[in-house]
Symmetry: C2
Subunit: 326 residues, 2 copies
């Protein structure tokens, strides 16, 4: 591990003076990708390197507070890439349309915290025990003794806080909490992060939540809770498809509920089913029966045939799992 860490730090700060780094994240970027990209950009600039953070999809409004955001460049405008740093990506597919561009680099540095990372870089710093890519970037800066300025600290804190759901998800570790503490000491602007990430919701999104909660249905004595978002509901609210995503957690949150589900009718008529479970049901198994997948407590699948049929099939299938079989 430390060998990798030092090899990667060496690539970035050791022998690479005068080179330009392009810093990539993944499609549909989240706080970890964006925060890690900008933190590394700050750190490379502070140490006299050229660096360009690259956006594949547009910067979401939530992250338009990140210090350095104006440096982001859309991938379409990037010419040749000499040295690519790829952050928070399990493999090339996570770069979508920009994969070829990044892959064309002479040297590829891969920094990631996902178990399924396939070590696609020439240099790989992958640690699945890290809560976020931002935690790995922090360790890189420490290893290279790069000073961490308040703006950098804010980016890294955003990365770690968002990927752990503000230290609520299972990937929260003592190490992540200690890095967060150091970042606050270094001047991370917690108030701004919290206000933008957790205390701001678009009006359409809030209206959609209110409407979706009206659809709450309980089955099996409350052990299954279902919320539905029809195409019409979403369109009338003006919310985006992304706004729909978090709503499934409200289903699972009902006291006494084991499985929470959200049925979301997409514009093309497909029904996207998101599943969350509390402690017994393996929803990745359940989703696999409908051709989907995911994790033990969070999974999903998509089916055709309309909302009513999707719900009936889901209710029947969950019933088997609640009874302890299959």
């Amino acid at each position: 591990m430390n060998n990798r860490l030092e090899a990667v730090a060496g690539q970035l700060w050791g022998e690479s003076e005068g080179k330009t780094f392009h810093i990539f994240g993944h499609i549909q970027p989240d706080g970890d990708a964006l925060g890690s990209q900008l933190a590394l950009w700050h750190a490379l600039r502070v140490t006299g390197h050229e660096a360009i953070p690259v956006l594949i999809d547009p910067l979401p409004p939530t992250y338009q507070f990140l210090p350095g955001r104006e440096a982001f460049v859309p991938w379409q405008t990037v010419g040749a890439v000499e040295r690519a740093i790829v952050l928070d990506c399990t493999g090339w597919d996570r770069l979508g349309p920009a994969a070829d561009l990044a892959q064309s680099a002479t040297v590829v540095v891969n920094v990631d915290h996902h178990r399924s990372n396939n070590n696609f870089g020439h240099f790989n710093y992958v640690d699945q025990n890290a809560a976020a890519a931002g935690e790995l970037v922090f360790r890189l800066l420490q290893a290279a003794q790069v000073p961490i300025q308040p703006a950098t600290a804010t980016c890294l804190y955003t990365a770690i806080a968002t990927d752990t759901g503000s230290f609520r998800y299972q990937n929260t570790t003592p190490g992540a909490l200690r890095v967060a503490a150091e970042l606050l000491d270094l001047g991370a602007d917690l108030a701004t992060i919290i206000q933008n990430v957790y205390q701001t919701v678009s009006l359409p999104s809030l209206r959609l939540l209110g409407d979706a909660l009206q659809t709450l249905q309980l089955f099996y004595g409350g052990r299954l809770a279902i919320l539905t978002v029809s195409k019409q509901l979403r369109q009338e609210s003006g919310a985006t498809e992304q706004d729909v995503e978090g709503i499934v957690n409200y289903a699972r949150s009902v006291q006494g509920c084991e499985v929470g589900a959200l049925l979301h009718e997409k514009d093309d008529g497909t029904v996207k089913v998101s599943l969350r479970s509390r402690e017994k049901v393996d929803v990745s198994q359940l989703a696999a029966r409908f051709g989907g997948g995911g994790h033990l407590r969070a999974a999903g699948y998509a089916v055709l045939g309309g909302m009513a049929r999707a719900q009936a099939e889901l209710v029947a299938e969950v019933g088997k799992y609640l009874d302890g079989h299959p």
Copy 2:
């Protein structure tokens, strides 16, 4: 500070063998009071002392997972109190009907993190820089070299996590994050804490949220957002008055909103107005004009005369503040 810390640790573990401690929190107990009480109870028992954690109001369902909860005793059943430890209370008034009982103790130890604490104990360990009373209890255990078992760690983590809103509130400090990290190392059961505290909502409470979101009204181009909960709405939902409280944060969360308000018609017809602001308006000042009070960003007041009048008066008054006067 350290003198106080050691004096208090000495009272608890130094010269007090064979004594019984009654451990008090405040009325309407929260995670910090309850977690701190039970952590100290565990720690005193582990070190061979007699200790009794005392409840003034019933244990809320949210905290019925806390290890040691079955040791809680209602204050009405407590006879004489020799040594009282009072946690997370600014003064005697926070003990409500149990104040006289606790005050009758020969020795009172006061451990608290509120700025307004009036040092009412014979021994006082008060530090307003601590994020939670649980952080102070942790330091006491460290000072006294009391081993912290996983159950104790779970109680202390609950105390710190709840009082910081899982590290989202302004009282989040590097110190609080480091103590949290140590508690995870010591075996705090984060998954159980998160599931009970943040991922469980009563069905009536969730239904009430859905209904309340339907009432969203915006004023002044979206800078004021108002949600209302009528007596009828609350009663039909089956939610408690406590369930209503958190809803005001949804009002403030609307993008572009500076002041969020919740108007809640109580059973006796009083309208309770809760206010939250984002960065400009001092809502404590605003609330004071209606005979209420609070903090810069969170305040409230109660008025008679019905919902419509309360709303009209509020809208008019907020308008003055949004324009920068008074």
